[in-house]
Symmetry: D2
Subunit: 332 residues, 4 copies
């Protein structure tokens, strides 16, 4: 049984708490949040303790693991503190918005045999994982081209966007990780076009809501990421991989299999699942499961700190491409 402290009791923290307690080998011991009421509510719901500080939870020797779901700017400090306290860590993406701070964090923990997993949930989606497994098993030979379509149903709030580090570090970062996961080779070049077409508030923040990114590996494999922040038809999450001997796709998911046939339209289906909490429910559960299993077995983390760092490097390269108008070589 793995006993968790949860840091962060906002929307994503609450979701993780709900998933965690359903896992037969996981238990929620402590909840901390700067908003005491939130921490208290989540703790109470699941029979855990509210921690009055991060330190209080980390000091409990019965705590095995920390789940970090607080705001991004707190991640590196919490990772460091948790590793120093000898806890395993499951941290929501991104590690940080600043590569310098990411590297400093790693420098501080690397000699402590850190057990840190990044929460790139999409790797645990059953459909995406099946596609990756089929690739690994050689089902389509060498991978040649990857297409990732990733569209949100709606532009986030201004408050959210202000803290999120920009479209490419907030939203595309998932797709950068997914591209690495699917390409089977490290991307070395990035070109990016991005725009603010949807909403004035996005323009006001010098942020983007519409983007296309090309990636290329040293071996010449290619990926294209397509992002958009107001897909009225729902949370559009699809992948497609072409290899030497075939193509694999994973399509969107819906709540039912109902089709409607009328005078004007045939085989019309439900809207797709609305947003990440519904769409990736199974993935979030499998992510917790993979973390618990790896920690218990002392096995390598399924998604590493370095994976988190690499995704940020790709986001940075994409911003550099936007700034210079050139394809950018990813720095090591």
């Amino acid at each position: 049984m793995l006993r968790f402290a949860l840091f962060g009791a906002g929307r994503i923290g609450r979701m993780h708490a709900d998933n965690l307690v359903k896992h037969p080998k996981a238990a929620l011991a402590w909840v901390y949040d700067v908003v005491e009421a939130s921490a208290g509510e989540v703790a109470k719901r699941h029979g855990a303790e509210r921690a009055s500080s991060v330190g209080e939870a980390l000091a409990d020797p019965a705590v095995d693991a920390v789940l970090i779901a607080s705001s991004t700017d707190t991640h590196v400090d919490l990772i460091q503190a948790a590793v120093e306290a000898g806890k395993a860590v499951l941290c929501e993406k991104p590690i940080d918005l600043d590569i310098g701070r990411v590297d400093a964090c790693w420098a501080a923990i690397r000699d402590r045999n850190p057990r840190v997993m990044l929460g790139f949930n999409r790797r645990f989606d059953p459909s995406f994982k099946a596609v990756r497994d089929a690739c690994q098993a050689g089902e389509i030979g060498a991978v040649r081209q990857v297409q990732i379509t990733s569209r949100d149903p709606e532009v986030p709030s201004v408050a959210y966007m202000k803290a999120a580090g920009g479209l490419l570090r907030d939203m595309t970062i998932h797709d950068f990780d997914l591209a690495r996961y699917l390409l089977g080779e490290e991307p070395v070049r990035v070109a990016c076009f991005a725009q603010a077409l949807i909403a004035q508030e996005v323009r006001d923040l010098d942020d983007h809501d519409t983007a296309m990114v090309l990636l290329e590996t040293a071996g010449g494999r290619q990926a294209c990421i397509t992002n958009y922040r107001r897909a009225v038809y729902g949370y559009d999450q699809r992948i497609e991989i072409v290899g030497e001997t075939g193509m694999l796709k994973a399509e969107n998911r819906r709540p039912t299999t109902v089709e409607r046939w009328t005078k004007d339209r045939t085989e019309a289906k439900d809207p797709i699942l609305h947003f990440f909490i519904e769409r990736y429910q199974e993935a979030y559960n499998a992510e917790i499961g993979a973390f618990v299993e790896a920690v218990e077995a002392g096995a390598p983390m399924p998604v590493t700190f370095e994976d988190g760092r690499r995704a940020l490097l790709l986001a940075n390269a994409a911003y550099e491409s936007l700034r210079t108008g050139a394809a950018v070589t990813v720095e090591e």
Copy 2:
């Protein structure tokens, strides 16, 4: 080059004329219709002669084949006359509405080495044919259950229904033939439920517009036919076969592959092809081609007079089932 006389220049006759002249080995020589203007128009369009009588066309030794697309009550006489004149015959379904007249026709022609093909167009639909070919090739092992969904977009005119011999002899007869084609064994028992739910004029004619028919072969294979005469979403034509090692389906067809994704509905497709002339265009062309090829090669007809007779026997058995409320054994 096979030179045709066309008897009947109504809607279906005109369609056959259009298809026929596109075939590289077929030519239209004569057109006859009781409505002289219709015959004249079709003849003129394709550079053929208008015949002032059936006899005039049959007397032309250059005529190799006759395509019968006139009203059902003229079929047996025309078949007989054409066979006596030594012509090959492609006759629209049904042979006749009366099994006695069908049998008499056969008695009159059987010793003349008759070259008569029945126009069950659906056997030549590329999708249905591919399903049948896969069955014949053993792809799903022994056939066990066949489902045929066959719905018209609209109730026909009263005039049409008056002459058509009732739903089961007019519309279901195609499905009876298709069931025989797909089952791979002869149906020996029939049970039928039929209703007039859609339109008062159907009730007034003591006809039906909604029907379900079960068929069973001596070997126990089963088929279900579902008919309906006002499918607002289009001409619904589907088959499905389950066998020992798999299932084969053929789905509806559409003019384009366009999908529409909106707030309310996703992957919504075009209406399916509206009615038989669009839906079975390729089938009608392939039917002409198969006839031409069989006649030129002296090969067996791909759909025989006996096939036409068998379909009528099944329709008669279905009417008997309706009358008695019992499952009816098909008479030989």
Copy 3:
């Protein structure tokens, strides 16, 4: 909080126990099974007590409800005992194989304000329910034709079949209920063809493995049920309803949305979910939820004792149709 006694700790009982304990308003208090070890194991897993007799559990005033998942021949006695003890009842289908015993059971309990729900799980499948809700909301006007395709992946064991009362009372009974649920009118006529085509053991038991059933309501609405017991491609569970202004379908479900495109086949998808426990997982959960909600609210049961009786009447009529070869009018 509704406290349950579970009677029957076999496969289906264990599944219900697992679902039940996840419901926020349900608790498992007692487990009884003639096989003590099974009852003990399930009780232990969920922190419940093993009852040494049915009476012990029913005598506990803290028990609010009974979930009957024992063998079919025990259902009516358990229903009666539970109702007499003042408990609400959720009973697996069928009530009994014998309509006389069903009617006697009802006679014994009807004056006690019985709170009995039948476990026709398919009514709670999100897709089937969405189709029914759309019908009820008038989305396709008056219902005209219902097609239910219901195929098992494999023939059950001989032991199972011996106790199951035959294909039509064991498997088709679900489809009879579903037909009633979807037709919106009571079926009054039944015609049935059934065969034993798949396995010698089915023939040896005088049972069937391949069946097609037609139903007709007083208003002329029609349903066709297609059953087969060895669909190699998985547990085939589909419905289709045509009405005045459209068609609604619910298709099969799969574990992922992956598509494989190769030289020979395109858009090939996963096998469908294997059998009822996977396919109807959400339905079983919703069924428990609906029971809990109805009991707590004192509301009418969503599936009644009479629904269970009606399904059996249809199965009996189908057997009568098989015996006589006639369409059978359903007895009241």
Copy 4:
């Protein structure tokens, strides 16, 4: 009736001849090819004359129009000669591989009221056209992102590639035109990644077989083109457009609607149509029809010389992007 001279009797010229003669308002009068035997064969098949020179055909006052399907390097001379002879011109893409020669050609003909249509066949595909028409009708509001997937089934011959001007001018040029057709605004920036991953002969020619191209319009609309030259699953031709209020897609086409369901794979469909002659058969016919109609009506050409020039400018910009590693602004 429009009388045509056909210049070029290779594969694509023969296809056009076959389509042309089926059009009710078009006739084939002359065929010219540097290979006399080819010209003679096509002329004979359709009852046309073989021209011993281009001039012989152009000198015939009965010739209304010229269809240019000869090798690319002859296009500009033939366009010029035909325009000077007062003929309407339907010219296969591309106009030329060299923008200088394209501009010179235009300078030479622009004052002669040239009637020149470029053969970008994909604009006439019923599905692509339906998508564009829906966009024009405002069905999805302002266009935001276009995705074009365009993959050939196989690498062409070395001889073909040597004359074709490279992947981007030969294959992608269709997609550049399609992107312009669908974006509704002129692309002004291009970024391109291209590789030779498939075949040694492609590398030997310094050509590419795997490419991704990003386009951006002045208004910020984006398009991504994905090209690959050995899609084992067939000629992959799809488009997808996201706009303010929805998404429109056009999917691949297949010869039948058959689905195969087996133990391992469900809903498996036929391979998609193999290559352009099958896939775009309806498009080629519609292209001829649109040309005939425009010429007869004296209406604007549906695809202009400038459209051909613009597509070449985009290909050139893509090559410049490859050379410099930068996003390239399209020259006017």
